[in-house]
């Protein structure tokens, strides 16, 4: 960029900023700092509209001025995804944090995008209900961020992922349109299912301003059990036995760590009588493997993988695989880590989604991530490199684009023709 263009661009910025201040108030247009960097790219300004109308207008003005916008909720997962090709304005949903309507008797809730998961769950619990989802960092993570990153945990086995829980959405598009799709009722087939399109889209199609979810009752009682397996083979047998049984477990995860024997955790929810019967059934299925009652804390294993002492020598990936081949996939990881002298730890859900942490030399981390991605993709799975250490030459976050990439680009083109939203963060350069 030559000096003239640069100064021109700065001018655009200052007048643009001034206009936004006049529109929203000075306090809500703040300069960005290094802590606001998006995957290493530092934006210039943080804008916090008070409502979705303001948000849509800020987005429209940015689009018109050719300013790249990164939507931000709690900022807990802002490092996920490829570094943006441009990032000038952070559009914060912090002030959109209301729970608009908890229609508890209808088991639905309408909630603003900036509301945290924790605040939502606390409100729902007043009526004995929950959003049946266990995403990462619920105290900070917001509805909009969790939806955009499609973050789900162990409860997905029973209740499905976000795509199965969301029933309505409102999106702000770069041209200033506020568009709603879905509705406030659980059963509804009128029009296209745009809630699903926005889920997992990483803020590249529109900014989520509101969502409606179906809810589930909080369980009357719940109990967790852990079974220690002596080998991956025994672990696979046990998981298959439970999955193929008539147990109505809510969650099932397997925990792995290099050098340790795998453990399988099972969560039951329901009536006391039901839990008792299921425990007995589980003990029969486990055969000789020891079954112990476990603390509910084991369900935080996935989040614990994100606490590591040396951020410069760790990588974290989301993996997806065919659930029945869990042992083979874990052996693949063990082998790939071993030859590169990497330490590893993983938690894998019975749904076939897992989280893997590798630790060691940065170059070897890169090697292993690429090697594993290739092997997972060959078996219809995937590896998404969510966290890569700063010292490692980065790899694409997403991997294989599949044959639908041109169609995805065409959807992006339709909704965000000027590539204003989160440019370059998503799959295939979207």
């Amino acid at each position: 960029m030559d000096a003239a263009t640069k100064s021109k661009s700065t001018n655009v910025h200052s007048s643009f900023r001034y206009d936004l201040m006049a529109f929203l108030g000075h306090d809500y247009v703040q300069p960005a700092g290094p802590a606001d960097a998006v995957a290493g790219v530092e934006p210039k300004v943080i804008v916090s509209p008070a409502n979705e109308m303001q948000l849509a207008e800020v987005l429209r003005r940015s689009d018109e001025a050719g300013i790249a916008v990164i939507p931000r909720g709690g900022g807990t997962k802002l490092g996920w995804g490829n570094p943006p090709s441009r990032a000038e304005l952070i559009l914060s949903t912090a002030r959109l944090s209301e729970i608009t309507e908890h229609a508890w008797a209808d088991l639905t809730v309408s909630v603003d995008a900036g509301c945290t998961i924790q605040k939502l769950q606390q409100t729902l619990a007043l009526h004995g209900q929950r959003l049946a989802l266990d995403p990462l960092w619920p105290n900070k993570a917001t509805i909009g961020g969790v939806l955009s990153s499609n973050d789900s945990g162990a409860l997905r086995l029973r209740f499905g992922g976000l795509r199965d829980l969301i029933i309505g959405i409102t999106l702000a598009l770069p041209d200033g349109t506020l568009a709603s799709s879905g509705g406030r009722v659980v059963k509804n087939v009128a029009g296209y299912d745009l809630p699903k399109l926005a889920t997992g889209a990483f803020g590249t199609l529109g900014v989520i301003t509101r969502a409606v979810f179906r809810l589930h009752p909080l369980p009357r009682s719940s109990r967790s059990f852990s079974v220690t397996a002596t080998s991956n083979e025994e672990m696979r047998r046990l998981i298959h036995a439970v999955q193929n049984s008539k147990l109505a477990h809510t969650a099932l995860q397997a925990r792995f760590e290099n050098g340790a024997t795998p453990a399988v955790d099972i969560l039951f929810e329901g009536t006391e009588a039901g839990l008792k019967a299921q425990e007995t059934h589980l003990r029969v299925l486990a055969e000789t493997a020891p079954v112990a009652e476990a603390s509910p804390e084991i369900w935080k294993t996935r989040q614990d993988l994100w606490s590591f002492p040396k951020p410069e020598s760790a990588a974290v990936a989301k993996i997806s695989f065919l659930p029945a081949e869990i042992d083979r996939f874990m052996e693949t990881i063990a082998k790939s880590a071993k030859v590169r002298q990497l330490r590893w730890k993983a938690v894998a859900q019975a749904t076939g989604i897992g989280c893997l942490r590798l630790e060691g030399d940065a170059m070897k981390l890169r090697d292993s991530l690429q090697d594993l991605r290739e092997q997972f993709e060959r078996s219809t799975g995937s590896l998404v490199a969510l966290y890569q250490p700063a010292g490692m030459p980065s790899i694409d976050t997403w991997g294989n684009t599949g044959d639908a990439l041109p169609l995805m680009k065409s959807i992006k083109q339709q909704l965000d023709p000027k590539n204003t939203l989160s440019p370059g963060r998503f799959i295939g350069g979207i």
């Binding site: 059963k187 029009g191 589930h216 008539k246 109505a248 019967a277 639908a404 169609l407 995805m408």
Partner: protein
């Protein structure tokens, strides 16, 4: 369409796969909603993905609109042909390609009949969960287009929950793959957008389904209440007690009478009948069934019965599932409506339906999926009486407006299709519809794939909401629909 184009199409599917004679084309001029009829120019019956692609490429090149069709059981005119267009029937692509029990997946072609999936996996104690009442005749491809539900979707979810991957021929003939056997394929959730798009985004040629282990036990209870208000209060009680039954169905007195006349389900004669089904581990279900009993009793149930055998359970369901077709026993003509309300609005909406029905001087029978607020009011009339048909159509539309006003939806499972296009702008604002259109443009810029459906256009002469006509196999007692 030029003769040359027809020859090209014939060359793709061989003689058996092309229908052009007017007598044979009649079969395809409508779907389950028979008041809309359009004669297609030709019907093609491909047997492979390659053939579908070849046909669609010609359509794209010649700008010929096409409509994909499964079994033709839809109730919103979704498979209604387009003037001067062709119909692509997927009926001959009916193979179950793979059953993968360890991963609980099945891969099928679009023409596979819904119930045949379950039939294939039952021996291993698995089933395919979405159960539209037409499941013995409707196809998986049609289910994908309509995002079909069924009585048990309260607990198990709709078709979209159970479709993990799709092979799709886009409207320009390109073959693409969405999702797959493993979850969360990186990229946009295009399978999520495609399911329920009513054939407007392309043609699914292969579908990867999730299959589900059968529960340890199933218990079905019938409870008779003085009116639907008390029955509705019991449903609220069940939900408030933190239960998620597999199904909760409700029928009013007129619907009960019709079902009794048709299949002798041995229902109690009452003002509001509730059918509650629980499934899961035996100890759990028995404990909860005691609670359901108590809730029904405390809300004024005069009679509570539990089906004592599989045969009894099947009979209970037969009565419920035959309710639509059964209306023919008590009325010469009727319109089936499909609306959704927040469940708690039920008493208010019911009172309004009674008021509207009295004003119009027409009877309305009510069948509900009470757990999720999906109403199926059946407006009864006699075409031979001057003015009744128009009055019935107006009443049916007014009921739908009640649903929108209550914060609900114009369709819970039948789809928008041709039938409810005009209602879309009452439920959605212009920017909402425009955004959907933009998504459609990404898939189908030339608007060739089922182009006239879902989105509102100025109303045409002769367009009117539709009377229910039983499917031939329904009349023969071979199948039922909701």
């Amino acid at each position: 369409m030029e003769a040359r184009t027809l020859d090209e199409l014939r060359a793709i599917v061989d003689g058996r796969g092309l229908i052009t004679s007017p007598e044979e084309l009649h079969t395809y001029e409508c779907d389950g909603l028979t008041n809309f009829r359009v004669m297609p120019r030709a019907v093609l019956l491909p047997t492979s993905t390659g053939q579908v692609q070849a046909i669609v490429r010609i359509c794209h090149h010649e700008k010929i609109p096409f409509v994909a069709r499964g079994s033709g059981t839809g109730l919103s005119g979704g498979a209604l042909p387009v003037e001067n267009g062709i119909v692509i029937s997927l009926a001959r692509m009916n193979r179950i390609l793979e059953v993968d029990f360890p991963n609980a997946r099945a891969v099928v072609e679009p023409g596979v009949i819904n119930l045949d999936v379950t039939a294939r996996i039952l021996h291993n104690e698995y089933f395919y969960a979405p159960d539209p009442s037409s499941q013995s005749i409707c196809s998986i491809g049609g289910n994908v287009a309509e995002n079909s539900g069924g009585a048990h979707c309260l607990k198990y979810g709709f078709t979209t929950t159970h479709v993990l991957g799709l092979e799709v021929v886009l409207p320009d003939g390109t073959l693409v793959h969405f999702g797959g056997k493993a979850l969360d394929t990186p990229g946009y959730d295009l399978a999520g957008v495609f399911v329920g798009s009513e054939g407007t985004l392309g043609i699914a040629t292969k579908i990867t389904l999730r299959i589900v282990k059968r529960p340890e036990c199933v218990r079905t209870l019938l409870a008779a209440f003085p009116s639907t208000n008390e029955a509705g209060a019991a449903v609220s009680g069940i939900i408030a007690a933190g239960m998620l039954p597999a199904a909760i169905e409700m029928m009013d007195n007129l619907a009960i009478q019709a079902a009794e006349a048709a299949v002798h389900a041995n229902y109690p004669n009452c003002g509001g009948l509730l059918l509650v089904e629980l499934d899961g581990p035996l100890a759990e279900v028995e404990c909860l069934m005691t609670d359901v009993n108590e809730i029904c009793r405390s809300n004024g149930a005069s009679e509570i019965r539990q089906a004592q055998s599989d045969a009894e359970r099947a009979l209970v369901w037969k009565g419920r599932k035959a309710a639509f077709a059964a209306m023919g026993r008590i009325s010469p003509n009727y319109i089936v409506q499909d609306g959704v309300i927040p469940r708690t609005a039920l008493p208010k909406v019911m009172n309004e339906i009674v008021r509207l029905s009295t004003e119009a001087g027409l009877r309305v029978a009510n069948v509900f999926h009470a757990g999720d607020g999906n109403l199926h009011p059946l407006v009864l009339y006699d075409r031979r009486i001057t003015g009744q048909e128009e009055a019935a159509e107006a009443l049916s539309s007014n009921i739908l407006e009640l649903c929108i006003a209550a914060g609900g939806s114009i369709t819970g499972e039948h789809g928008v299709g041709e039938d409810k296009k005009k209602m879309m702008s009452k439920m959605f604002a212009e920017p909402d519809l425009m955004t959907m259109q933009r998504v459609r443009n990404a898939f189908d810029p030339f608007q060739l794939s089922n182009p006239t459906k879902i989105f509102p256009t100025p109303r045409l002469c002769g367009e009117k909401p539709g009377e229910y006509t039983p499917h031939p196999s329904e009349s023969a007692g071979l199948a039922e629909r909701f």
